[in-house]
């Protein structure tokens, strides 16, 4: 039985001082996004499990579920991306692509015995733009946000969801191998990945390539050797994407803050292309993550490419407070 001082595990009260800081930081972020044409919307805290819950591809046990008054299973929104896909395909169905939306609010996932994971997010979705300009826009917005709000060193790690799949196809592996290897990378378990690769029936030469990607991390230069590995159109086109993205990021003067990482895997199962994670010095987790999701909207009946990202405000605040970037935030309003 809960006692009167308790709140559900994983949730928290926000004190005035912190709330002021959240408002300031959010204001700064929204100001940047508004300049780029993003409009803020809000969506319900609860959604139907059979639509948003299912299409979010978040494992069922990670959703917080209950019944609405009519007996339908509803969930607390686990992210904003899926509700916004619903919104764009229904309420906004007559609005022409590209659509730029931003949001701020809380999202909830179920951690079982460890309670509820309540996260305060601020993010953006860029819907209807399939080109690299879309990815570059989102990445450079992330860079601008971190430059503006923190005084801490940070890196945007950029990977590609299809890279491993493509590489395995080039070396001639079966799909079952992909499952195991991608799981190892998702768990960041390089030892398991290496052991799996070493047990494959492949030439040492091809194994070396599968192992090499664990070390390919950094500027375009540090992954460029991979381009000449295979001649197929698909392989060449993925490297063309990397170099194209790098060129646009150069124009935005963002390349100093970006690292490619060929072993990066997206946590969200709906990603279809480039994925991004932002890491800040001294903060143990990614503070912001996102990626391209070109197949999510069609679930709601309006196919369209899209990309986006979400900043975890609590993580960002921790970085700001620790890095004494706080004074910068105050300065920007005085």
């Amino acid at each position: 039985m809960p006692v009167n001082f308790e709140k559900p595990i994983g949730t928290g009260d926000v004190l005035p001082e912190k709330l002021k800081l959240i408002k300031k930081v959010s204001f700064d972020i929204k100001e940047i996004l508004e300049r780029w044409g993003y409009e803020e919307i809000d969506t319900p805290l609860i959604e139907y499990q059979k639509t948003v819950g299912l299409f979010s591809k978040i494992p069922d046990e990670k959703l917080i579920k209950f019944l609405d008054p009519l007996g339908n299973t509803v969930i607390l929104r686990p992210d904003f991306t899926t509700p916004i896909a619903r919104f764009v395909a229904s309420t906004y169905k007559d609005v022409e692509f590209p659509i730029r939306l931003m949001y701020q609010g809380k999202v909830y996932t179920n951690l079982g015995r460890r309670g509820i994971n309540e996260k305060n997010q601020i993010g953006l979705e860029l819907i209807g733009l399939s080109s690299l300009e879309g990815d570059a826009e989102v990445i450079s917005l992330a860079v601008q946000i971190f430059l503006k709000t923190t005084g801490t060193r940070f890196k945007v790690a950029v990977g590609h969801t299809n890279f491993l799949r493509l590489l395995l196809k080039e070396v001639g592996c079966e799909f079952s191998v992909y499952e195991n290897l991608s799981q190892a990378l998702l768990e960041r378990d390089y030892v398991a990945y290496r052991n799996l690769v070493n047990n494959l029936e492949l030439s040492e030469f091809l194994k070396d390539r599968l192992l090499r990607i664990l070390k390919m991390r950094g500027s375009l230069e540090s992954i460029w050797e991979g381009r000449s590995w295979f001649d197929s159109l698909k392989w060449q086109s993925v490297f063309k994407e990397f170099s194209g993205l790098w060129a646009i990021l150069g124009k935005y003067q963002a390349t100093d803050y970006v690292n490619f990482d060929l072993s990066l895997m997206g946590q969200q199962n709906y990603y279809t292309g480039m994925i991004y994670h932002v890491y800040c010095e001294g903060h143990p987790r990614p503070v912001c993550s996102g990626g391209r999701y070109d197949n999510l909207l069609e679930n709601f009946g309006r196919p369209g490419p899209a990309t986006g990202m979400a900043v975890n405000l609590d993580d960002l605040l921790a970085v700001i407070i620790k890095g004494k970037g706080v004074s910068n935030v105050n300065d920007s309003h005085s």
Binding site: A157, R188, K215, P284, P286
Partner: protein, 206 residues
Amino acid sequence: MLTIAIPKGRILEEANELLICSGIIKNSVKESRKLVIESPEEKIRFILAKPLDVPIYVRYGVADVGIVGKDVLLEDNEGLYEVMDLGIGACRLSICSRPGTVCQRGELPRVATKYPKTSLRYFWEKGEQVEIIKLNGSVELAPLLGLSHYIVDIVSTGRTLKENGLVELEVIEEITCRLIVNQATFHLKNTVIEDLIERLEAGVKV
């Protein structure tokens, strides 16, 4: 400055040998009451921790990297990079019992262990439902006193088992120590980490 979490006890000696062999430190890290040991010459700081706490220090970023057994990581590897098999601290995680242990039909087998998640997962994969009893040490006692039918624990030489009249039934996993890295460190100090890995790889081969 790089902060390395290393486990007290069984593994420390081998870890020292490897770190010296790899040219990362000159003098071995000694277990004492002092829990944070600075090695300013090499720009390294060591945190001496209980093995189960090593992943926690690394996850929260108070240590950049850690040395820890795979047995511990099987229980808890969330949010960490497991970058290298260090080859030290070799042992195995096994199911053991008194010889000839049988469960009554309809009785849920009881398994005493320091590794509840791994044990539950292993029996689940075998299609067996068991009751896990979490102990914090001297797990071998449990079957002797009739607390459990089985234990899941690490076995290296098998001497403790023998002295307590237990036998090893099945090996769940071969265990060695791993190098783990905090996520942010991995992405922001990548050259430092790659350099550390390279040295250790050379050290492992010696």
